[in-house]
Amino acid sequence: MKIHEYQGKQVFARYGVPIPKGYPAFTVAEAGAAATKLAAETGSSVVVVKAQIHAGGRGKGGGVKVAKGGAKEAEELATRILGMQLVTHQTGPAGQKVKRLYIEQGLEIERELYLAALVDRDSRRIAFMASTEGGMEIEKVAAETPEKILTVFVDPIVGLSPFQSRQLAYSLGLEKHGKETVAGFAKLCASLYEMFVKEDCSMVEINPLIVTKQGGVMALDAKVTFDDNAEFRHPEWAALVDEAEEDAVELEAKAAGLNYVSLDGNVGCLVNGAGLAMATMDIIKHVGEKHGVAPANFLDVGGGANEEQVTKAFSMILKSPKVRAIFVNIFGGIMKCDVIANGVVAAAKNLGLKVPVIVRLEGTNVELGRKILNDSGLRIEAATTMFDGASKIVKAVGGAQ
């Protein structure tokens, strides 16, 4: 689960990770008021107006602007940025509409650095990565100049040791800004580690981490991602969700206990199991690519879904306007084929079947499942294997053209 920069910085503040002063703003008037307040608090009229969307690369896309002329200029910038479709390398060509701003004090920056903490699956440790190349895309730094990134791995039982923070600090050359800068950085790393573990983060990226002209160390950005699996022990996360950032269908699916990801294609997929669901998408594309046939979604109904959840899942696919055919691919283990069949039939009878449906059933209660589909009177075509199903799907979509 991703949250906005201003929300991430509120978490930073709770753990003592230093941040510039700033206030969120949802309207132009709030942006002006925030700028006035910051000027009073800091004695400087320079503020930064920052678009709040989950994607990175906001500055390059025109979503981050400096206002040197106080509240009036901040309001002018807010008028331009609020409501814009912000396009970055992470949003895709359609961009993301800006609905929230963060107004932050302007600072005199000496250096821009990069710091991130993440779960490194290969070492099975939390890794801290630091680089002198702040403000750059870290993927690019990793590919072109990997020697500019230093990584330390944290033993989960020992925690982040001060010597590890010092290793990072000296690799960044922080000693040339003074002893306080090295110490400030080490303290920031310790706070960040405590936050990472207690808040169940899966990734925290600070790009840039800045050294101010005065030698202070601060997080100028905050990209925080939480571990979805830990949601059960963080009821406070619910208030941090921004529905405007999420795909509406994915949210609806999540509420129904289904794993759903929207894609660009034209074939709806209903599958049990994440691996089989991915493999189903793959085979549709493999067989259908040169005919313009591709998956419209990833959908794993899981192993323990009941008939209502299957009905819900199938209804969601049926309602999608881009879907020209539906592939139901089930290898029943815990999931019983008759439960799937009943759910499909219930949704189809409720909403009507306007597109061809190909069903491939295997596993537990397969005969009963096939009988339910056969007796339903619905126009459902059976497939014997995944390949047979994908071939029939391509034919069905081609025939509808």
Partner: protein
């Protein structure tokens, strides 16, 4: 022969009185697995299905019944603790089916597991379990699709394992042991750990290895195969059509940059002598074509 489990494996079920635990414990018993005990705090002294004693703690269950393998169905908030309890009780194998354990919990579990130096092995979490056809089923896979034989199957996905097994069985080819290592980013046995056992098992003549996007486990498996395996290995990697940065169901199935896309993994596998099935419908036939030569 087989790997890790056989007809003499003595199983204790952690979370045996929950809905998933009781349902699957029964299914495993019907398959012929020896379920010798269960454990649920507060339910000690009762009997499961009238014949399996339930204990409050796992160490008590192991002491009384000589169980050597644990199967875990404890829900996510208590699952990591259940795994640690199994390590403490000294069983040789822990199979954790539970899906949705926080990764920070698993980092600590994994750290403890590494100190055990092979005394206890962990399969999963978020996995279908392990089966040696005709002898022992520990997990949630449909037993009836399996057949006794000589092909090992190892996979990060549950249903895709069933798909491979179904294909093998329909060709009349049986399996020695099938293992789902699970879809989480931090877990127990890796491809390499399982491949080592298949290579050493005289009853396993060939292997199907099924991976997916995310992480470096497949690449490490491929390096091991190239360096150490004399048996044919066919592979499949799911997620060629998955968009970067999106979690595809499994917590671990997310492209996070570097060499963890399906295309990069397929290239790596092929460069190490693994024949990769062009579609998920061809997993068994790809291996069989290698074994005919």
């Amino acid at each position: 022969m087989s790997i890790l489990v056989n007809k003499s494996t003595r199983i204790v079920v952690q979370g045996i009185t929950g809905s998933a635990g009781s349902f699957h414990a029964k299914q495993c018993m019907e398959y012929g697995s020896q379920i010798v005990a269960g454990s649920t705090p507060g339910r000690g002294g009762t009997m499961f299905e009238g014949k399996v004693p339930v204990f409050n703690t796992l160490s008590h269950a192991v002491r009384e019944t000589n169980a050597n393998t644990s199967m875990i169905f404890v829900p996510p908030p208590g699952a990591a603790d259940a795994i640690l309890e199994a390590f403490d009780a000294g069983v040789a194998l822990v199979v954790c089916i539970t899906e949705g354990i926080p990764v920070s919990d698993m980092l600590r579990v994994r750290r403890v597991l590494d100190t055990l130096k092979g005394k206890t092995r962990l399969i999963g979490p978020n996995c279908p379990g392990i089966i040696t056809p005709g002898e022992c089923k520990i997990g949630i896979m449909p037993g009836h699709i399996h057949k006794t034989g000589n092909i090992g199957v190892v996979s990060r996905s549950g249903t895709l394992t069933y798909e491979a097994v179904g294909q093998l069985t329909s060709l009349g080819v049986g399996q020695s042991t099938c293992i789902g290592i699970g879809g989480d980013p931090v877990a127990g046995m890796d491809f390499v750990d399982v491949l080592e056992l298949f290579q050493a098992d005289p009853n396993t003549h060939g292997v199907i290895m099924i991976g997916e996007i995310g992480g470096g486990a497949e690449a490490r498996g491929a390096d091991y195969i190239k360096a150490h395996m004399t048996k044919p290995v066919a592979g499949f990697i799911a997620g060629a059509t998955a968009p970067a940065g999106k979690r595809m169901g499994h917590a671990g199935a997310i492209i996070s940059g570097g060499g963890d896309t399906a295309a990069a993994k397929i290239k790596k596998l092929e460069s190490c002598g693994i024949r990769v099935a062009p579609t998920p419908s061809d997993m068994a036939s790809t291996l069989m074509a290698m074994m005919k030569k």
